[in-house]
Symmetry: C2
Subunit: 342 residues, 2 copies
């Protein structure tokens, strides 16, 4: 049988729905016996009050903003973005609450997205680390569901808080070149991930451009790709260090992967930055704490700005998407000038 309602309970208990409701809401005006009877039936039927009907009846409006993203098992950066969302939301004293949706595959993503618009569970949507097909955009627009993306190139046909991954990769590459390195390797995700999100490809592209500009070669073996995991990055770095001519510098496409490289260097007895320089990407809070050189991409701020912009859209305004401060390399203790010394 379908999910029972208070009607079913009332009928089975031989009372009116009013009584059931009173029991549910701990009204004092109900005899202990009746209450007990009703409670028994409720337990028997496994009745659970319908949240939605209850809210409608109680006239309590709820305003939800959905946050949809890849399973953030993979992306530590997500936590910092989420913090930005959260902080902005409370500082602005809105009455919006945050709903968290995580998707495990492309198919699941699509399914969740249609579920979200069909149920109407949220009034607006923040999309992090995921792309949007044309059909999906159309669906969201038809449903009048404002949405903004975070972590995309500044695309034209939907509002994004863009971060230019190509530029970031370029900066990292140029920085290492400026340090005097001539043997520079790349450790990163597969160029297209499960979700067809291409930030790795973008960062790699910028990186390559920097090398090409300076007519620097990038041997095939210096390109190490694999799933976005610490252990994998660790192994990829070991591959590099075992090369007959190992690199003197590594650009890791995320801080987490950079830490994997650092661990590999430690294991190999390599000193950082004396023997090998390592630069990450993200500038996570922890990276700041432990002195990792990294490309800063203003993670928390991206969340804040994302919310602010979404609130604009919800408000009916349509300003152009705001942009984040420029990316920059934050030099710390895992890189240093090479050449004169090394």
């Amino acid at each position: 049988m379908a999910r029972p309602t208070i009607k079913d309970v009332a009928q089975k208990a031989g009372v009116g729905i009013g009584t059931v409701s009173r029991v549910l809401n701990n009204s004092p005006k109900v005899t202990p016996e009746t209450r007990k009877l009703v409670l028994n039936v409720i337990a028997e039927l496994g009745f659970k009050p319908n949240t939605v009907a209850r809210q409608l009846s109680r006239k309590t409006r709820v305003h939800n903003i959905g946050v949809i993203t890849q399973p953030f098992i993979s992306y530590r950066a997500f936590a910092e973005r989420l913090r930005g969302l959260q902080l902005a939301l409370s500082e602005l004293e809105t009455d919006y609450e945050l709903m968290l949706y995580t998707v495990s595959s492309l198919a699941h993503y699509d399914e969740r997205l249609t579920m979200i618009v069909q149920t109407g569970a949220v009034e607006a949507l923040i999309i992090i680390d995921l792309d949007l097909y044309d059909e999906q955009k159309a669906m969201l627009r038809e449903a009048n569901l404002p949405f903004v993306g975070i972590n995309h190139l500044n695309v034209q046909d939907w509002p994004c808080i863009g971060t230019d991954n190509v530029e970031g990769g370029y900066l990292a590459g140029r920085y290492l070149l400026d340090c005097g390195h001539t043997r520079i390797a790349y450790v990163g995700d597969e160029l297209i991930d499960t979700f067809e999100f291409i930030s790795s490809a973008e960062r790699f592209e910028g990186f390559k451009r920097a090398l090409t500009e300076r007519r620097m070669l990038l041997p095939e073996q210096y390109i190490q790709l694999g799933p976005h995991e610490y252990e994998v990055a660790h192994q990829l770095a070991l591959n590099l260090f075992h090369l007959s001519e190992p690199p003197s510098a590594i650009f890791a496409m995320s801080d987490m992967q950079a830490f994997g490289c650092l661990a590999a260097a430690r294991e190999m007895g390599l000193r950082v930055p004396d023997d090998v320089s390592i630069i990450g990407y993200d500038d996570l809070e922890f990276s700041r704490h432990v002195g990792l050189t990294s490309v800063r991409q203003h993670l928390e701020l991206s969340g804040r700005v994302g919310i602010e912009y979404l609130l604009c859209l919800l408000n009916g305004d349509m300003p152009p998407p705001p942009s984040l401060p420029p990316l920059e390399v934050i030099a710390r203790q895992t890189t240093r000038t090479f050449g004169e010394a090394g």
Copy 2:
């Protein structure tokens, strides 16, 4: 005026509510003129469809689990717990969604909690890093809202996924003693925080007990307390290092604070672990990556177990709260045996 409904729109536009609904849902059967007219009125009135009513009408049930916590700006551990919640939820293939509530003060906490039960926005609640007054427990029980806490001593009167902070502090203290240290300091939060949550006090208590057992003195200056922030911990550690007789080991009540201490040591030119040993608490994923010795408290697992237990409760079962694996010190590169060498 109160929030307009489609009725208001219909009236003002001189059409039936059916038409308004059709416009809202992009039904093809509506003349362009009518549509435009209605859309104008909608814009004029600033009408937004009521999420709740829409859901009721569409017969889409939603099942939400609320997660309420301190602003996780302060507690990095929260992200790992959240990941556990999230993963368990999707692996168990439930149709529950996660709602995130953050509270900024005790008053705000209370306000949010009553809001949550009154609106009935969620069917169950996970409470992280927050305590519960008797009145609050009563309120939740009356509302039939199952709830489980995470990160509390295993209290008797409400279900918690307990972590024994006293024991953890004790383990940290004893570990440093076993390493041969005789000058051991504590860096942690104020013993009672803004939210009257006492994990710092508990960890400190266990730590003190370990010292006392071995008749080790704990000078006043070796107890450095302050707000839960990296920079603060950093400063507190500097205080310690500037003492005429600085400690040879520090127990920091969280990994983040341990990193603050590490930075201070670096600045002072102290080698870790040769000149000073540092142990944290949490065993964050990053701590593993960078080699911080820490007390492992199974953060992600606590989230998983929390969800599993909550689902039991939602299911009407009432098993005793499960317990986590025992706490343990994970020795890495920031501590080492002292005495024979130092």
